[in-house]
Symmetry: C2
Subunit: 457 residues, 2 copies
């Protein structure tokens, strides 16, 4: 091995420049190690906030350009080599080399796989028509944002978070909007049926039509879309958004012989090292949307396709590359989103997830206010809690305010394996403008019944 | 012992009808035990929200009547015997009897001491003048609210929470307001000097003048107050509020031979039973502002004079009277208040408290935003964290939003003895309208330095 400089820099190649890859690159620049960081990314821009796109369309944020967080020059100025509009086409783990679509071959000391996710597009007739969109990257965001300006009738296929956030943006732009969901209720990944109903009622007041338990049979039109045919009838559409979920972008690593799990994500150990034939690779990491993680409560393999998971992984790998030994064994995947006027938070298990893992759960529920009864601007808050063997294992919260940090607090409680009764007698702060002396969370804890939640399979 | 009915009811006498006493009485009505509940209280009203008074004066809440939570009829309708405008004058623990100022003697099976607190009035010349007020009960609230209407120049003695909340109410009513504080900084019970400065700057923009490290020498006037003389000069005043803190109302229990601690509060064991000559009384409880508790981190005896502590104690005693065995060993006393436009939260130790207990602490700090940089209505948030041996032991947070549940979450983290590095790599939820991908809390955790905070004694 030749040595060009006195101090050999450790070559780190990051495949993928989304939230995971760019957060890691930046975190590494703040570490003391002597690193030569290269990021291979498809997009021409430095970094942007994918979660911000629906809010641009809704008009809360003015321009798509506003959600560009950092320019390529910013990263290059910090010594990061950015190979934009590039893709890795081959990973050679034995020779520690990455081949790019340009033909260029990069040597690495440490490889990080941050290939993210891709939209899952169901095999529906007509998905290739003009006027049918997905919203999975900045370019697609720009295109959809533009298309929205001239649309009159939109159909969104899929009532997940992206689908519903975009539905709100569409009606805000005076587009007649219909959402078609195959499953019996909306946002099923994060909410039980009873909580989802609150969102559904709210969206109805905004003029959004939602059809659950409804199957799309085809997308109709010549060249350009004209309607969406479903088992509930045909809906006229000059714009269709496919928002039927995402899947890990793990083809490249599968080709390289790395283990890919049932969820489709790259298998990693608790330090986020990948594995081949059961053996961990100490110098190869994977993170974010493309990896398979384990649920903290049920140990079920899952994808935690959240920007927050990607950012957490990035900080963790930066530490582990710099000599740390950080491990995360289980994931609670706390999530928060804003749908219309409602903040919607979820953490840990839903009843459906518990049922799938044959875990019996008890339910605690409360609907209450966010401030003292006599204080103005009081908002309703809906809290649902799930417990197994008296241990808190999940929570869903909906309100116009005050949801996010409640979810973070409950994530801490679940992580620390706190019981319902411990939580009932834990100190909480109080002031009339911001809380109730007996908070709805306490009432939800008090309401735990012995009967188990019955879930329809 | 005679037995009048087939099923003898357990006689519970609660001495004091503030937040502690009334919350306990209500909690007992929801328990399955066969209780005869009597509450002895000074006020003529059922219950009110003492923490709400400054917000009535500020105009956020319209009338003093609005903060009356429940009428006497409400409680009586639930079978609670309310002896209003009454005081206990003697507790005979050996014969299980309470004597009232009316001469009436009540037998009890279980006695609960909920005598609360009283204002600490410093021995200043002129405190007895007309126009000098305290704000320690509903009646005083009514009087001060009325007096405020015709005042032009107010001096508030004491820059604690009540003093500052009231100062904001005064300037809102166009009263020239000066706050005199003996200690070097404001709200020293909950904030370190550097954090207190943020509040002080904010109050300055509201036109409130604050003099710290300033001693009141006398309150001047004939019959009616005209000025407050201090070592920083004389301040004209037609209204003076004494807000120099509170002390436990424990005279009665001291006379009964019960142990009273250094803090002036009634000594209780972890189940909240009182003690005499080192022996716990199984059938006598005390709670809320009148008891001495132990700090969770330093074990220092302290008063946790918070409505939230009183309400927690009430739920706990209701459980313990009904056969439970709930214990709380240490208190973190999480607190939240709204001072002007700022939410001010604190939990666990301040640097000053750590120093008094000779506990070395490291400091983590961050100032950041509450939302993604491109999102509108972003607010500043200031976070200060204290750690001892890598364990989080305290936090102070100031922002226009999002403080309360952060404090509750940090209380859970401290309670569970979480380390800085565990917290750094704990999952948190994210959405651009409500948070940052790298939250200021994470940046505060990252900023922990090895050097210790130097505190002036």
């Amino acid at each position: 091995m030749s040595q060009d400089t006195n101090v050999q820099k450790k070559k780190i190649v990051i495949v993928g420049g989304g939230v995971a890859g760019m957060t890691l690159a930046m975190a590494l620049t703040k570490k003391k190690g002597n690193f030569q960081i290269t990021v291979i990314k498809k997009e021409a821009i430095g970094s942007y906030s994918p979660c911000g796109m629906p809010f641009v369309m809704e008009g809360k944020v003015e321009y798509m350009e506003d959600i560009i967080l950092k320019t390529t020059d910013f990263y290059r100025g910090r010594g990061i080599e950015l190979k934009t509009e590039s893709e890795a086409t081959d990973l050679d783990l034995d020779n520690q080399q990455v081949t790019l679509n340009s033909g260029e071959v990069l040597d690495y000391d440490i490889l990080v796989i941050a290939t993210g996710r891709k939209p899952f597009i169901p095999p529906i007739e007509g998905v290739e028509l003009d006027g049918v969109y997905t919203l999975s990257n900045y370019e697609e965001g720009n295109i959809l944002n533009e298309a929205m300006m001239s649309a009159s009738n939109a159909v969104i296929i899929g009532a997940g978070i992206i689908g519903l956030e975009t539905a709100v943006a569409f009606v805000h732009n005076r587009i007649k909007t219909t959402v078609i969901e195959m499953l019996p209720s909306i946002v099923p990944q994060i909410l039980d049926f009873d909580m989802a109903e609150i969102i559904q009622r709210h969206l109805k007041t905004k003029g959004i039509k939602i059809y659950c338990s409804t199957r799309v049979s085809s997308i109709k039109g010549e060249k350009t879309v004209s309607a969406v045919a479903t088992d509930e009838g045909e809906f006229p559409a000059d714009l269709v958004l496919i928002a039927t979920g995402v899947k890990p972008n793990s083809d490249l690593v599968q080709e390289a012989g790395l283990a890919v799990g049932k969820s489709g994500g790259v298998v990693v150990n608790p330090t986020l090292n990948v594995e081949r034939e059961g053996q961990p690779f100490k110098n190869v990491f994977a993170l974010g949307d493309c990896v398979e993680v384990r649920d903290q409560i049920t140990s079920t393999p899952k994808i935690s396709a959240l920007a927050s998971t990607a950012a957490l992984h990035a900080r963790m790998i930066a530490e582990n590359i710099s000599g740390g030994d950080l491990k995360i064994k289980g994931y609670l995947s706390p999530s928060i989103t804003v749908i219309g006027d409602l903040q919607v938070g979820s953490v840990g298990l839903t009843s459906h997830m518990a049922n799938q893992s044959r875990l019996e759960v008890n339910i605690g529920r409360a609907t209450g206010q966010t401030r003292s009864s006599y204080y103005p601007d009081n908002k309703l808050i809906n809290i649902k809690l799930l417990a197994h063997d008296n241990l808190l294992v999940g929570a869903q919260i909906i309100s116009e305010e005050d949801v996010k940090e409640r979810i973070n607090a409950i994530a801490l409680a679940i992580k620390n394996k706190m019981t319902i009764s411990e939580l009932l007698f834990t100190e909480r702060c109080f002031t009339p403008p911001l809380s109730l002396l007996t908070d709805p969370f306490i009432r939800a804890l008090e309401s735990f019944e012995q009967q188990k939640e019955k879930v329809e399979d």
